[in-house]
C-alpha cells in the first residue's frame, strides 16, 4: 500500500515539475502591466515620438527593421497573391509568407488568433464583417495612406471600408450581382421589368421547367425590391440604427411590385435555391439569372452568357443592388504595423488591382483601374461594373445581423401568399428587428 503511494508520488512529482515550469513560463504573458505591442526591434513605440510628430513623419513611415509579414489569403486568390508577394519583396526587401485561410473565415479567425499573436499581419475581409472586428479593436485604421485611398478609390468602396467615419480598409475589389442572360435564348437583353414580363409570357413553360427569370429570396439578392423604391435598411447611409426603413412607403411599394411578379415565377420562394437556379441556367432552361461575378466560372463554359445591369423599375429608375467591397485590413496585433500598412497599400494600388482582374476576374475598386480599356471592353465585367454604379454597400454595422433573418422571412411570406398584407408583414418584421437590437 505505502509503496503504491510512493510510486504514485513519482509520477505526479515529475508531472508537477512540468506544471511548475508552465506556471512560471506563462507568467510573463498575462499579468505584467500592458506594454505597447509595437513589437521587438527598433520599433518607435516609446511615447516620446509623440511630441515632434510632423518632423518625424518621414522617419515614421519607414517600415520596421527586419520586418517579416504574414498575409492571409483565400485559395482562389493564391496564385495572384504569390506574384504580388514576390513583387513586394523585390521592391521593399520585406519577405512575405502566405497562409491560406478561406475568405469567409478570416474575420472569425482574427477574433481568436489576433490577440493570440497567431493571425496574419494583413488579411482580406468583405466589408460587412468589419463591424465586429472594429468593435473588438482588431483592426488598425488606414491612417498613413488615408488621403491616397480616398482619392484613388470608388466612393462606395471607401464608405464600405469605413466604420463610424474612420477608414480602416485598403479596397481590393468590388462585387455586386447583375442580370446574367443566355444569349442563345435572348438576343436583345431587356432593360426594364416590363420587357422581362413580356418575355416571360411567351417563354415560361412550367411543364418543361422553363422560366424566364429567377433570383433568391434572401435579403441580399432581393434588396432591389427595397432599395429601388425608396426603402432602406438603416437611415443615414446604413449608419443610423435607430432609423429602420424596412416598412416605409417605398418598401411597401417595392413589395407590392414584387408580389405582382408572382405570375412569371409561379412557385414557392423556398423552391428557388442557388443549386436549382444555377442548374436550370446551365441547362439553358432559365433565360435570366440574377447572380454575381463569383458564378462566372461556373457558367462560362456551359452557357453563352452576357451580363447587363438589373432591369429598371416601372418608374424608370435603375435598380439598386447590394454591393460588397473586399478590402485589405491590417491586424492591430501585428508586430510590424508599418510594414503591414505598406503592404496593404501596395497590394491595393492600381497596377495590382488590374493584375488581380487579369488573373482572377476581380472587379477593381480603383477609379483609374476601372476606366482601363481592359475592363471597359470586357462584356461581362463591364455589366457588373455598371450595376455597381447603382449599388449601395451592404451595411457593415453588426446590427445588420438582426436584419437578415426577419427580412428573409418577410420576402418568403409575401411571395408565397400574395393575398397577405405587406404593410402588416413589414411592420411585424421591423418590430422583431427593433426588439432584437434593443435587447443587446
Amino acid at each position: 500500500m505505502q509503496k503504491k503511494l510512493k510510486e504514485k508520488l513519482w509520477g505526479t512529482a515529475l508531472l508537477f515539475l512540468v506544471l511548475a515550469m508552465m506556471v512560471t513560463a506563462c507568467s510573463n504573458s498575462g499579468n505584467n502591466p500592458p506594454v505597447n505591442q509595437g513589437g521587438g526591434n527598433g520599433q518607435p513605440n516609446n511615447v516620446e515620438s509623440n511630441s515632434n510628430a510632423n518632423s518625424d513623419v518621414d522617419e515614421e513611415i519607414k517600415p520596421e527593421e527586419g520586418a517579416k509579414l504574414v498575409v492571409w489569403e483565400a485559395r482562389e486568390q493564391m496564385p495572384y497573391m504569390k506574384q504580388l508577394a514576390e513583387a513586394f519583396e523585390a521592391e521593399y526587401g520585406i519577405p512575405v509568407t502566405l497562409e491560406e485561410v478561406a475568405g469567409g473565415d478570416q474575420g472569425s479567425r482574427l477574433a481568436t488568433d489576433g490577440p493570440s499573436k497567431l493571425a496574419g499581419d494583413v488579411l482580406t475581409m468583405p466589408h460587412d464583417q468589419i463591424g465586429l472586428a472594429v468593435k473588438a479593436g482588431l483592426l488598425l485604421p488606414n491612417d498613413l495612406y488615408e488621403e491616397e485611398t480616398r482619392n484613388s478609390m470608388v466612393d462606395a468602396a471607401v464608405k464600405a471600408s469605413s466604420y463610424d467615419g474612420v477608414l480602416y480598409g485598403y479596397p481590393k475589389s468590388v462585387e455586386t450581382y447583375a442580370l446574367f442572360y443566355n444569349k442563345d435564348l435572348v438576343t436583345d437583353p431587356p432593360t426594364t421589368w416590363e420587357e422581362i414580363i413580356a418575355f416571360a409570357n411567351t417563354y415560361n413553360d412550367p411543364k418543361q421547367n422553363k422560366y424566364a427569370i429567377m433570383w433568391e429570396f434572401v435579403g441580399y439578392y432581393s434588396y432591389p425590391f427595397i432599395g429601388s423604391f425608396g426603402g432602406y435598411v438603416f437611415g443615414n447611409e446604413n449608419s443610423d440604427i435607430t432609423d429602420i426603413g424596412l416598412n416605409n412607403d417605398g418598401t411597401v411599394e417595392g413589395f407590392k411590385f414584387l408580389q405582382s411578379l408572382k405570375p412569371i415565377l409561379p412557385m414557392n420562394a423556398g423552391d428557388v435555391t442557388y443549386d436549382v437556379k444555377a442548374q436550370l441556367f446551365q441547362e439553358g432552361k432559365l433565360a435570366f439569372n440574377i447572380d454575381g461575378p463569383w458564378s462566372i466560372a461556373a457558367f462560362k463554359d456551359q452557357v453563352n452568357i452576357g451580363v447587363v445591369p438589373l432591369p429598371k423599375t416601372p418608374d424608370g429608375n435603375p435598380s439598386t443592388s447590394f454591393s460588397g467591397v473586399k478590402s485589405y485590413y491590417v491586424n492591430s496585433y501585428s508586430d510590424y504595423p508599418i510594414a503591414a500598412r505598406l503592404f496593404a497599400n501596395f497590394a491595393s494600388n492600381k497596377e495590382n488591382q488590374l493584375k488581380n482582374y487579369e488573373m482572377t476576374g476581380a472587379i477593381p475598386a480603383n477609379i483609374e483601374a476601372g476606366e482601363d480599356p481592359a475592363i471597359k471592353n470586357d462584356p461581362i465585367i463591364s455589366g457588373f461594373f455598371e450595376q455597381f454604379q447603382y449599388s449601395i454597400p451592404m451595411p457593415s454595422v453588426s446590427e445588420i445581423n438582426a436584419v437578415w433573418e426577419p427580412l428573409r422571412a418577410v420576402f418568403i411570406a409575401a411571395w408565397d401568399d400574395e393575398s397577405k398584407d405587406v404593410k402588416q408583414l413589414l411592420d411585424q418584421a421591423v418590430t422583431t428587428i427593433k426588439t432584437d437590437i434593443d435587447s443587446k
Binding site: 510510486e7 508520488l9 513519482w10 468593435k135 479593436g137 453588426s398 445581423n401
Partner: protein, 435 residues
C-alpha cells in the same frame, strides 16, 4: 510512533523534509525542489491569475494616436484571463493532490521505520515503479491531458453562460463581466428569447422521441421480416437494406435536399406524373418536419436492423417450437418471445439513440438548415433543434453567452434523461436473462 508523526509534521511544513528525515534523500530533494517552484508560482503569479479570473480584467485594449500613426495599446483580454485563471486553478489542484500524497508517503514510510524496516533507496523505488506500477505511471500523462485538454475547456464553456460575452461586448476592446444567472433569466423572461427557446425546445423533444421510435420500430420490423423462415435470399435483402447506412449521411442528406424540392425535385415530379398534387416537402412548416423524420428513418433504420438481426439469431429455436406445440400463432410468438428478447438486449441502445437524436445536428443542418423561416423566432427556423440554434447563435450572431446557456440546457437534458432511463432498464437491473 514518533517517526511517523515527525515525518508527517515535517512534510506538512515543507514537502520533502519528512522524506529526508526518513533518510530518503533524493526523493526528498526532488520534492523540496517541486515545492520551491510551486511556492514561487503561488507567491508571484497565482494571485494575479485568480484576480484575473474574478475581475476578468480592468483595462481594455484601446487605440492611441502617436503622431500620424494609430497604435494598439494592449490591455486585458477577459477571455484569455479566464482561461489563464482556470489553468492556474487546475495547476493548484494538482499541487494540492501531490501535497496530500507527500504527507501520506512520509507518514507511511515513518510507520515502516517505526516497525523496524529500512526505507527504500531511490533506485529501489524506481524499480518498484517499473515492476509493479508501470501502468499508473504511464496513465498520469493522459490523466493530466484530460484535465487540461478536455475538462478545462468544458468548464470554460460552462462559465461563459455566466458572462455577458456576446456582441457588442467583444474583447479585447471591451471587458467581459460576470453576470451570474442573468442570461438564464433572460432566456425565460425576455420575450425575444423565451418564445424561441420554448418552441425550439419542444420541437427538439418531439423530434427526438419520434425519430427514435420510428427508426427503432422500423429497424426491428425489417429485421423480423428478413428473419422469417419463408423469406429467401436473406443475404441479398440484408445487404440491400444496409446500403443507406454505408453511404455517408452527409452525401445522402444533400442529395435528399434536392430530391424533396417541391418544384424541381424528382419526388414531386413522380407524384405529378401520377396525377397527384405533390407536397410542399421543405417549404411548409408541418411537412418540413415530416420530411426530416422520413429522411432520418432512411438513415437510422439500418443500424437498428443490424442490431436486431444479431439479437434474433441468438434466440433459441426450441422456444418457438415449444410455442408452436402449444398452438401459438405467429403474432403471439412475436409478442411473447421475439419482442421481449429484442427489447431486453437493445434497450440501452435505444436510450443512446434518443440521446443522439436530441443532438442530431447533421440531419437538420444539411437537409433544411432549420428552414422554413419562422417569423416569431430569434435566429431559428421551424425545424431548428437546440443544437443547430446554438450553432447559429455562436457562429453567425456572436451570441456566445446565450449559446453557452443552450449548451448547458442540452447537457442537462441528455444527461438526466439518460441516467434516469438507463437505471430503469431491465438490462441494468439484472445481468441475467429475462425472468
Amino acid at each position: 510512533m514518533q517517526k511517523k508523526m515527525g515525518a508527517s509534521i515535517l512534510s506538512i511544513l515543507f514537502m520533502g523534509v519528512g522524506q529526508i528525515y526518513n533518510r530518503q534523500f533524493i526523493k526528498g530533494l526532488l520534492l523540496i525542489g517541486l515545492h520551491t517552484a510551486a511556492l514561487y508560482g503561488i507567491l508571484f503569479h497565482l494571485m494575479d491569475y485568480l484576480k484575473g479570473l474574478i475581475t476578468l480584467g480592468t483595462e481594455p485594449s484601446r487605440m492611441a494616436k502617436v503622431g500620424k500613426l494609430t497604435q494598439l495599446v494592449a490591455g486585458d483580454h477577459s477571455i484569455f484571463m479566464m482561461i489563464d485563471g482556470l489553468i492556474a486553478l487546475c495547476a493548484l489542484l494538482v499541487f494540492l493532490i501531490i501535497y496530500v500524497f507527500n504527507v501520506r508517503d512520509a507518514y507511511l514510510v515513518g510507520l515502516l521505520r517505526d516497525q523496524g524496516h529500512t526505507p527504500n533507496h531511490f533506485i529501489h523505488s524506481l524499480q518498484t515503479v517499473n515492476r509493479k506500477y508501470f501502468a499508473y505511471f504511464i496513465l498520469f500523462v493522459p490523466a493530466i491531458s484530460v484535465l487540461f485538454l478536455s475538462i478545462l475547456p468544458i468548464i470554460f464553456s460552462i462559465l461563459l453562460a455566466f458572462t455577458n460575452y456576446a456582441d457588442p461586448i467583444l474583447p479585447p476592446a471591451n471587458l467581459v463581466d460576470w453576470v451570474g444567472f442573468d442570461n438564464f433569466v433572460k432566456m425565460i423572461n425576455l420575450d425575444v428569447w423565451s418564445k424561441t427557446f420554448g418552441g425550439v425546445l419542444s420541437w427538439t423533444l418531439i423530434w427526438a422521441i419520434i425519430a427514435t421510435l420510428t427508426t427503432y420500430v422500423g429497424g426491428v420490423f425489417t429485421a423480423v421480416l428478413i428473419q422469417q423462415p419463408v423469406i429467401r435470399f436473406k443475404k441479398l435483402w440484408r445487404t440491400l437494406l444496409i446500403v443507406p447506412f454505408a453511404i455517408p449521411s452527409m452525401i445522402s442528406l444533400l442529395v435528399m435536399r434536392n430530391m424533396f424540392n417541391n418544384q424541381f425535385g424528382p419526388i414531386n415530379n413522380y407524384l405529378k406524373n401520377l396525377g397527384l398534387e405533390g407536397l410542399p416537402w421543405l417549404t411548409d412548416p408541418f411537412w418540413a418536419k415530416v420530411t426530416v423524420i422520413i429522411c432520418n428513418m432512411w438513415l437510422g433504420i439500418p443500424v437498428t436492423m443490424i442490431l436486431a438481426i444479431g439479437v434474433l439469431t441468438t434466440i433459441p429455436r426450441d422456444l418457438y417450437e415449444a410455442a408452436e406445440v402449444d398452438g401459438a400463432g405467429s403474432l403471439q410468438k412475436f409478442r411473447l418471445i421475439t419482442l421481449p428478447m429484442v427489447l431486453f438486449a437493445t434497450a440501452p441502445v435505444l436510450i443512446m439513440q434518443f440521446a443522439g437524436n436530441i443532438n442530431s445536428f447533421n440531419v437538420i443542418f444539411l437537409l433544411t438548415n432549420g428552414d422554413p423561416v419562422n417569423v416569431n423566432y430569434q435566429y431559428a427556423g421551424h425545424t431548428d433543434l437546440l443544437v443547430t440554434w446554438l450553432f447559429k447563435l455562436a457562429l453567425n450572431q456572436s451570441q456566445y453567452s446565450f449559446a453557452s446557456v443552450i449548451g448547458i440546457v442540452i447537457f442537462v437534458l441528455v444527461a438526466s434523461f439518460s441516467i434516469w432511463s438507463y437505471r430503469r432498464t431491465k438490462s441494468y437491473k439484472e445481468e441475467d436473462m429475462l425472468s
